[in-house]
């Protein structure tokens, strides 16, 4: 592989074939997870199922999507991570580069209960583990009647209706291109109209386009802004901690989601499929949803009343047509940098 010429060469010299035959039973597998409550949930809700079933230990490592992708790119013959949780775009990149194995019902029986939109766009090389929906968290005192739809919200922000007290995701955030796509859908898919609105919003309303979720929460929590476009699970967590002055909703007609996409790295041991199957078990999926307050894709899961209104329903989820828009992401990011100040 050219991209990591020396690393790959060195790896192949040391280990010209995968160290473990794919079918051999390893001592442990390495699973990637986002930090904090995400990793805790995986250790609590998925790992025991896999360890009990296989007798193989799980090493959960925390990090970020781009970092994990880099690691398996550098050593595809012996991937340092067996199970990945890449973002949607990185899953597509990894799929195109042949770094992921394709799941089937035989390998992952619980795949049968996952709707197509959560795995087919990735050619079954990645399956959604959980689904975070993008909505609006707002200060109920400052904005008692928030706009009902995304279009009304974007128009209001572009017109400066809320003053310079708004924060939106940056186009350069991991899910930034998807947010630009969502904005364009409110204007008949016109990407120019979306950029025009976001540019006007930048001038009249936006204090800062956030680039990390922590940054967004900091802006809202310190009341630097009255409205922030943010993830549902994180918002509900914040509200549940006694911040009753804050509200959260998903504008009509629906929203994009941030998905942690489960994948088995190519050349990872086959037993790793059992981990994915455990993660997609209805019972484990529900426990995961209750822990992180994000929706899960398994359609057999029945949410209890305590979280039913906090997780996005499947019919409100909009998945961008990645096969059509993915190759535009680079140019959208470049345009974002040039036009949005």
């Amino acid at each position: 592989m050219r991209r990591f010429l020396v690393a790959a060469l060195a790896a192949s010299l040391i280990n010209p074939i995968p160290l473990f035959a794919q079918s051999a039973k390893p001592d442990k597998i390495v699973v990637a997870a986002y930090g904090g409550i995400w990793a805790e949930s995986i250790k609590k809700n998925f790992v025991p199922c896999f360890e009990k079933k296989t007798g193989v230990k799980v090493d959960v490592i925390t990090g970020e999507s781009a970092d994990w992708l880099t690691r398996i790119r550098a050593n595809p013959n012996r991937p340092p991570i067996d199970i990945l949780a890449l973002a949607e775009a990185d899953s597509l990149r990894a799929t195109r580069e042949g770094l992921l194995d394709q799941a089937t019902i035989e390998k992952v029986p619980n795949l049968a209960d996952i709707p197509d939109k959560f795995h087919k766009p990735w050619g079954d090389h990645a399956i959604a583990q959980n689904v975070g929906a993008l909505g609006v968290m707002y200060n109920k005192e400052a904005i008692p009647n928030p706009p009902k739809s995304w279009r009304e919200f974007l128009d209001a922000v572009a017109d400066g209706k809320f003053g310079k007290r708004v924060s939106l995701p940056a186009g350069t955030y991991t899910w930034g291109p998807e947010f630009i796509w969502l904005a364009s859908q409110q204007y008949d898919g016109d990407i120019d109209a979306a950029f025009a609105k976001l540019k006007a919003a930048s001038e009249k309303s936006v204090v800062k386009f956030w680039t990390t979720p922590v940054e967004a929460l900091n802006l809202f929590g310190t009341k630097e802004v009255d409205a922030v476009v943010y993830w549902d699970g994180r918002s509900n967590n914040f509200i549940d901690k006694g911040n009753n002055w804050a509200g959260f909703y998903i504008p009509d007609p629906g929203t994009i989601v941030g998905q942690a996409m489960l994948s088995k790295a190519k050349n990872a041991p086959d037993i790793a499929w059992d981990y994915i199957n455990c993660a997609l078990e209805p019972e484990n999926q529900l426990k995961h949803a209750e822990t992180i307050l994000y929706a899960v894709p398994n359609q057999k899961v029945v949410y209890p009343p305590s979280i039913k209104d906090k997780v996005v329903s499947a019919d409100r989820i909009l998945i961008p047509p990645y096969d059509k828009v993915f190759d535009s992401f680079g140019s959208w990011i470049e345009r974002w940098n040039k036009e949005i100040r």
């Binding site: 990149r93 009341k223 990011i333």
Partner: protein, 290 residues
């Protein structure tokens, strides 16, 4: 050209009859380390920057950078930002370094600890700390409000990024200056004083020239570190405060355009090297201390 000496040859630098400097064998591990962890990654980065469609090589990524006014602007503001931060560090760091060099005992230890404190805190934590202090509802603006004064816009602009950057780079300047001042022969300043030089002339004509080497070392450190930093610009700036390292980070993590990121990395390296070379030429060889 540098060559390695054989085991039978002296293990200290000597000039051969041909003028070729021989390096001691003891440097071999360091050279291997540099080759593997410095030269090889640079080479990989260079090859990546030249990667064209398919198996071809081209300068297309560099043409993209130098043919686009936006990227040229970012390069310009990156360099200007580095220069301004370095200047601010020099203005604030010199008196601080002077104080460190000219104090003794417990106070000196306390002063050094205070100077290096910014380096003990993680960059993300430090940046969020600045958000709390400089934000619209932060400590400074709370004070402004209490005094009935208008709100100051101190973050998400060059001011905030600059303040945070100077804060963390100040130790490099202060300690470089202090290190030089501590080795100066105080009798020279004493002689100037005895000969009637007033304090300001003593500083301009004796102390400052003799401590210039520390100022130069600190400036090099501050400049190179400031134009290579992106976390502070990411958290305390916005799109209008774009710097080249942040663009590189974006291309790697979001756009996943590695050849373009590599080309920007090579460009940054060449620019820094050129500026340091130019600085070396302008400053010239340091004058030996008496």
């Amino acid at each position: 050209m540098a060559i390695l000496s054989s085991p039978a040859e002296p293990a200290h630098p000597v000039a051969s009859r041909g003028g070729i400097r021989r390096l001691p064998l003891g440097l071999l591990p360091a050279l291997i380390f540099l080759a593997v962890f410095f030269a090889a990654p640079l080479l990989i980065n260079l090859l990546e920057s030249l990667r064209g469609p398919g198996e071809t090589h081209s300068l297309a990524q560099f043409a993209r950078i130098f043919g686009d006014a936006y990227y040229l602007t970012v390069i310009g503001q990156t360099l200007l930002f580095g220069l301004v931060v370095t200047l601010a560090c020099a203005l604030l760091g010199y008196p601080l370094g002077y104080a460190v060099a000219r104090t003794e005992g417990t106070f000196k230890v306390v002063l050094i600890f205070l100077v290096v404190t910014p380096l003990l805190v993680n960059v993300v934590v430090r940046s969020f700390g600045w958000l709390v202090i400089l934000g619209g509802n932060g400590a400074i603006n709370a004070g402004m409000r209490a005094l009935g004064l208008p709100k100051l816009n101190l973050i998400y602009n060059w001011t905030g990024v600059g303040i945070a950057m100077v804060h963390v780079l100040l130790p490099f300047m202060a300690l470089s200056v202090a290190g030089t001042l501590e080795t100066l022969d105080r009798r020279i300043e004493e002689a100037a004083r005895v000969l009637g030089a007033p304090p300001h002339r003593l500083f301009w004509h004796v102390t400052l020239p003799m401590s210039a080497q520390g100022l130069i070392t600190g400036s090099i450190l501050c400049f190179t570190l400031s134009i290579g930093s992106f976390v502070t610009a990411l958290l305390l700036g916005k799109n209008s405060t774009m710097v080249l390292p942040l663009l590189i980070y974006q291309q790697l993590t979001v756009a996943s355009d590695w050849p373009f990121a590599a080309a920007m990395g090579v460009t940054l390296l060449i620019l820094v090297s050129a500026i340091l070379w130019l600085q070396g030429r302008l400053v010239g060889e340091p004058r030996g201390r008496p």
